[in-house]
């Protein structure tokens, strides 16, 4: 009885130790935070941050080489979430929310070359060879990849006008005299 307990305990200790050493020697070098960050980024691979894609941007963020405000399509919300994740205090006051933009194709200039169609990473452009292309405005996030591809200058980014549907109450300015219903 006691020999069984002793032998199993020894076996456990030895094998556990081996596993521990193996995990140390054979560990795959990967920053877990990088994976988390990658999940937070939009993943549209638009390249507006200057990195090839979202994975590379996530790696740079994890190494602390990139600013949390790097991703224009993620907006302020993403910048705040990244700052929280990385435990850095981001100065978001200077980070003006970029005006949302959408690509628009001037139909008179479009020759249906499918260059923009091929450049769009999220399939926001519809079209076919020798057919006029169009932008799906609820998918387009204004990364501008298509603009550089267009040979006829038919594509331009246009700011999205504020609308009743997207308007929100401004934050009250502190300390102003206010008039109220008595």
């Amino acid at each position: 009885m006691s020999s069984a307990i002793v032998s199993l305990t020894l076996l456990g200790i030895v094998l556990g130790g081996l596993l521990g050493l193996a995990s140390h020697w054979l560990a795959v070098e990967e920053d877990p935070i990088e994976k988390d960050i990658q999940a937070m980024l939009p993943g549209s691979q638009c390249g507006q941050c200057g990195y090839v894609g979202c994975a590379q941007a996530a790696a740079a963020l994890a190494r602390g080489e990139a600013a949390v405000t790097l991703c224009p399509s993620g907006g302020r919300a993403l910048a705040e979430a990244l700052a929280k994740k990385l435990g850095v205090s981001a100065d978001l006051d200077g980070h003006a929310e970029p005006v949302p933009q959408l690509a628009r194709i001037e139909e008179a200039l479009c020759i249906g070359c499918v260059r923009c169609f091929n450049a769009c990473t999220v399939d926001a452009i519809i079209g076919a060879p020798k057919q006029i292309h169009a932008v799906l405005s609820d998918i387009c996030h204004g990364c501008g990849k298509c603009v550089g591809e267009c040979r006829t200058g038919a594509i331009a980014l246009q700011p999205v006008a504020p609308s009743v549907a997207s308007w929100i109450w401004p934050k009250p300015a502190a300390g102003l005299a206010r008039e109220v219903a008595a």
């Binding site: 939009p42 993943g43 549209s44 691979q45 399509s73 993620g74 907006g75 302020r76 919300a77 993403l78 978001l92 990473t121 999220v122 399939d123 926001a124 998918i139 996030h141 504020p162 609308s163 009743v164 549907a165 997207s166 308007w167 929100i168 109450w169 401004p170 934050k171 009250p172 502190a174 300390g175 102003l176 005299a177 206010r178 008039e179 109220v180 219903a181 008595a182």
Partner: protein, 486 residues
Amino acid sequence: MKNHPIRGGVHPRYWKELASGQPIAAFPLPARLSLPLQQHVGAAAIPLVEPGQRVRKGERIALAPGAMSAPLHAPTSGVVHAIEEITAAHASGLPQLAIVIDSDGLDEWAELPAPLADPFAAPPEEIVRRVAEAGIVGQGGAVFPTAVKLGMGKQYRLDTLLLNGAECEPYITSDDRVMREHAAEVIDGARIMAHALGVAKIIIAIKKNKPEAIAIMREAARAFAGIEVVGVKIQYPIGYAQYLTQAVTGRETPAGRRNAEVGVVVQNVATALAVQRAVRHGVPLISRVVTVTGTAVSRAGNFEVPIGTPVAELIAHCGGYRARPRFLVNGGPMMGFQLPDENVPVVKGCVGIVALAEEETARQPEQACIRCGTCMDVCPIGLPPVEMAQLIRKDRLDDAARLGVGDCIACGSCAWACPSHIPLVQYFNHANGALWTADRQQRKNERLRQLAEARSARLEAARQERLAAQAARKARAAAPRQEISE
């Protein structure tokens, strides 16, 4: 029936006496009407008419693209002048697309759907369909599509239709007048809605500061079994649907849930009138009762106003201003908003226009919070306004959301009661707007990620296919000799 206890609430001065004695008067036909495509919760309506086209009264001029929307109808006969951007009847004052109709003065009716002879013999779906086609939305100001609410009997186990005649906003008297002058139609409309919902019990809740309306509605309800008229206590915001449900039935709706989940559907009395007209007479929602009041207006009154009438014409019809108004408010002063200008139209959710004179307002400098806790005492939801406002001031919106800012109903009780005159509701409106925008961005990003992944998967599949085809070709060419590996 005794009221159940409710939390918080305030007691502003009601000023109902300005307009409550004025019977509902017909409103002269305006020369030009502007009908915004978005006057309701949900998707904007899609125009069915073109500039220059002649339309007749009651004709559908814009369709609802889905269930969560509402069609529009021409309030009078005339010619479509344009479909153009006008200043929205909205706190933002931003432009909004509207169908603009020049009235021809004939007021000629289009052919209306045949009236339902016996609505109680018709299947509930038929009632819901007619209400949807009539473009009826919540007339109390929430503008939620009524047909969607009437279809909730399928989704939830309901037992009561609560008819909201509380009208707790100061100044506004349109529901009061509707109940006093159209009691029989309101009760008929309520019975039709109860039939559509499949409930047997109707409770009509009226605030006790409207004794005439209570008496008249009691009298009109006497003939029918299962209808109860209840006086509710004079307390703001008793007219808020969830709050009223709790006061009348004792059932509290859980945070972030629908009222229907506790078995009660709340409809406004003016909505009942609109439903009655749509079902019994085939008349769509083309006009509504609007109170024009405030001490800055020469003659306050209640009017049956065609939807789309410019507010300026309402003011002119009431004899213009007696004094220069400090504020021109759409809706009541507690939850309404300041109109961006006088040319905005009356929309489906407009219960009243209040022109506040100088003496009705007070210029109060904002002071530092003294942590008196008054705002926490008066909050009908039981939220901590002082904590939330402080977090929002520091842009800690997620923390404010954890405290429940999303449950704020923007009733304004906290800001009204605050001795330091801190604009608390504006903080919460701002926070909820910003949180909603962030949430929408988050969902868009999620969608973009899926699209990007789908695209790379598709391109990869196409590449594999190409390679396989190439390999097959090579294999065929070199078939007798040897195997080729790609």
